[in-house]
Symmetry: C2
Subunit: 535 residues, 2 copies
């Protein structure tokens, strides 16, 4: 099909023209297993992209889904009823969770309180995964549904493996899988698929840099062990029960999880520390970023009224709508002392001491505000969506991390001089004010963020197009086995060459033993021979 | 500079239009350290690409350069005179080398002969690197030249690190580096920069697959150790002497070597086994490939005369112009029995028993023949240029590996069912004929190669454009430090967490010792207390 009149590079170019014109000459079928909440924001964008290119998308949701709507113009949904499951009241759940965490942190580090909290957290983790695994049970038990899915002949199953139940369904259907991933089961995605030396790769759940002291490396190693135990004893058993029931004991859940064709990793190395990776990992960090649109007139007026001082944006993301009032009033007092205007996404009780320069909004066009020329800094909790938007627009960050990956996320920008981080449990009006002033006034932070922004934007393709390309690649070629090592199927002692090294040590020891035995034998003979002579 | 009328993806598209129109709004300066021979074929293409995009390229060559011409329309050269060096007569050198190797292999595996040959090979390796390092000495000693180079303000140094002397010059100039690499010092490039578990990553110089038995893994581990020793005791000392002389003892040559900004790896995973990689490794395998052009009329006539049988192409590459006559006459006899026509690149003595169907040529348009619809198979030595052209055009291979990486290369295609490999030392007319017939007649090989071809061609960008993008990326941003781990600067015991693990073991042992000491102490106390009562 190659026209010799075109050079190879011209053909690539024509392919790209077709690609960017959103046309595709064929239509694939995609089954999607999303994760609810902020994860869905990302996944939905990818689904929109697939729909625009002419593919048919089916999204699996539960009847208690929070963000994933049953009907949408760009996908059809498959709703799984969870008869027995107690739907987690997510907003309350996370707010309660945060309050407990803050209380423990503030009370100082009582090991008993911390351990009991940790125990509770593991219980919650197990509960979330049990609920997710119920989706798998409901689907795999429903023979009619599975038959229907089989007959639909999906080309690819797109999974957010934070809750990896889709992996089981894809295995049953025999369809190749693509992950849209940053977090998987109980840790960062790379740890499941790529070598991760604890000497310079900080593990999940611990805010450590890539250049560590001995004690930090020790902490990192211990935490890595802890994460492995959580994976092995809390998360994997939930799914292993299903795997054994439906697929027998020849395969473990973890091997199934590692067998994805392509890992679309929501990571960019202006943000993540450089670390080993694999050929089937494709980096799409910041694929949600886009140029800003003009603000609504009243917001534009407010922003313009800031004059040369500019404005500051504050938002703590989707999960936590409100901080305790004792904290918000300290923040409000600090904001009131700033010459800048402040726009604050805030849904809880309004602080009494709010300054005239501060505007509270329940919802705000975050990307458009971050892209506004008058913005000076972004006070953020450190969720990745906000961080990537901030990197994209080159806005320095004041980090107020609350939960989960947020401390690690803002640390990554702090190490690069693009953010300053505050401990929310020990916030004072002075510390908050000082930090915001430092980030706004010192060009160091802005310049570093601008540098990260220019590195991040300098790509041959937009990361969303990269993602779509690789999803379609898997559809076209029925997988991408040539990019995937199957080393994870090896027993651990072979993978880590424990058997080979033991064998070599045994050979060396045996050789030495034989050598010394022979030497001793010969010596004895010589001595014996000599003795009679001497006698 | 963002026009809000354009969406982000449209801007990426416009950037690509500019990219493919070979225009660049700025002109960079590139200093190139190539390696002679077949490596130059690749590097020259990349230089041509840089020149087309408006960059100024300076190529460093020696006065005894073999392939690298002093004058060319697309680069200016910097010729280093090697007064004392004995220029290696490369063609003779490699032919003699091959003959010795064949003789030893044929004579059976006499360990003494093999070891003496191996010793000689290490001597040759050391000699080649010593000659290369002389280029460094000549440049670094020439203060006027270095001053001139410094004043030129190069944006990037492009190096083939097979002979890594350019690394030293780049370090002295303080200019970021990009490698165009497959082989580095004494092994495959990945081994210097990415984790390479010997349990599933076959090491250089040993033709092993990625799925290995225990004994193969043992062999692989031993060979890995051997390669490490060669690097450490044969190659590195040559350059370490220069590093210590010119840059002091704070930095080792190996660390300098590992510090490149981008590794353009001449590897594609339709060919190489999947293995761990790093964020600053960019895969450009097959960047030399292009669609075929029409053949010269007389060659086209010959090819067309083959009718439906088609034709077979044989070429053993640039290094070895001739095989011993006893082998070529066996091959000629086999070819004569085939219904296909045969085109054979052959420069030595003509075999007496040549069939009417066989055409000998000193030079042939390999890519155009491989892309011809009538080709049935490619009898090749397994150099990567030929292999990638064969993959690109989907032509199955009969491998006759001779030297260096060739056995490993053809093994990679054999494992994928796209080639059959012959041992040149034990070739017979029957075995050669049988193998060629098998590859030509059994659709298995052609289908597998077609599948690899379709996977290889399915990329968002042509690999040459990918290479040019990343070279320009390094020029634009003065490096790519955010993609490079600096873990290689750690001491080995920290990198491998030996200190952390030792500490943990010590803590565990100490705790156990204390625990048992306390238990023993308490037991003694109890027994002592009881004893008086009993008394």
């Amino acid at each position: 099909h190659l026209n010799p009149k075109f050079s190879c590079r011209q053909l690539f170019f024509l392919k790209l023209v077709l690609h960017f014109s959103n046309k595709v000459s064929w239509s694939g079928k995609v089954l999607v297993f999303p994760v609810d909440g902020s994860h869905w924001v990302n996944m939905n964008l990818m689904i929109q992209g697939l729909h625009n290119r002419g593919h048919e998308v089916t999204v699996v949701r539960t009847d208690s889904s929070w963000y994933v709507k049953e009907t949408a113009p760009h996908y059809t949904s498959l709703t799984i009823a969870l008869p027995e499951a107690i739907a987690i009241e997510k907003e309350d759940f996370f707010v309660t969770f945060l309050m407990k965490m803050l209380a423990i942190k503030k009370a100082g580090s009582s090991p008993v309180a911390f351990l009991s909290f940790y125990w509770e957290m593991l219980g919650a983790l197990s509960k979330i995964h049990q609920q997710a695994s119920m989706v798998g049970v409901q689907m795999l038990e429903n023979k009619t549904l599975m038959q229907k899915l089989r007959e639909t002949k999906y080309d690819v199953v797109l999974i957010d493996p934070g809750l990896p139940v889709g992996v089981l369904v894809a295995h049953e259907l025999g369809v190749p899988t693509v992950y849209n991933v940053r977090w998987i089961t109980s840790g960062e995605g790379h740890f499941v698929v790529a070598p991760s030396p604890t000497s310079y790769v900080p593990t999940s759940g611990v805010a450590l840099p890539d250049k560590m002291t001995f004690w930090q490396r020790l902490q990192n190693t211990l935490h890595y062990g802890l994460n492995t135990c959580i994976d092995k004893f809390v998360v994997a058993p939930v799914y292993d029960r299903l795997v054994e029931k439906y697929f027998g004991s020849d395969i473990s859940f973890y091997h199934m999880l590692q067998g994805a064709d392509i890992w679309l990793m929501r990571v960019d190395f202006v943000f993540e520390f450089p670390r080993p990776t694999m050929p089937n990992i494709v980096y799409i960090g910041g694929f949600q970023c886009k140029p800003s649109s003009p603000l609504p007139p009243e917001l534009e007026d407010f922003v313009q009224s800031s004059g040369d001082h500019g404005f500051i944006l504050m938002s703590l993301g989707t999960l936590v709508k409100a901080l305790p009032k004792e904290i918000t009033s300290k923040i409000a007092a600090a904001f009131a002392q700033l010459p800048q205007k402040v726009i604050w996404r805030h849904a809880g009780e309004k602080p009494d001491n709010l300054g005239n320069n501060t505007l509270l909004l329940k919802w705000l066009p975050q990307n458009d505000l971050l892209g506004h020329p008058k913005i000076k800094a972004f006070v953020a909790h450190g969720g990745t969506n906000g961080i990537y938007e901030s990197i994209y627009h080159g806005v320095p960050i004041v980090g107020v991390p609350l939960l989960f990956d947020q401390p690690e996320n803002v640390l990554r920008l702090e190490v690069r001089g693009a953010a300053k981080v505050l401990d929310v449990t020990h916030i004072t009006t002075e510390s908050f004010l000082g930090t915001v002033k430092e980030v706004v006034r010192n060009p160091f932070y802005r310049n570093n963020m601008k540098r990260l922004s220019s590195l991040h934007r300098d790509k041959p393709m937009h990361p969303l197009d990269t993602a779509l390309f690789w999803i379609e690649f898997v559809m076209r070629h029925k997988g991408a086995a040539h990019l995937r090592t199957e080393s994870y199927k090896m027993p651990w002692y072979s993978y880590y060459s424990v058997d080979v090294v033991s064998f070599l040590i045994a050979v060396v020891l045996l050789s030495m033993w034989i050598f010394f035995a022979v030497v001793r034998f010969l010596c004895c003979r010589i001595i014996r021979k000599r003795k009679p002579k001497q006698e």
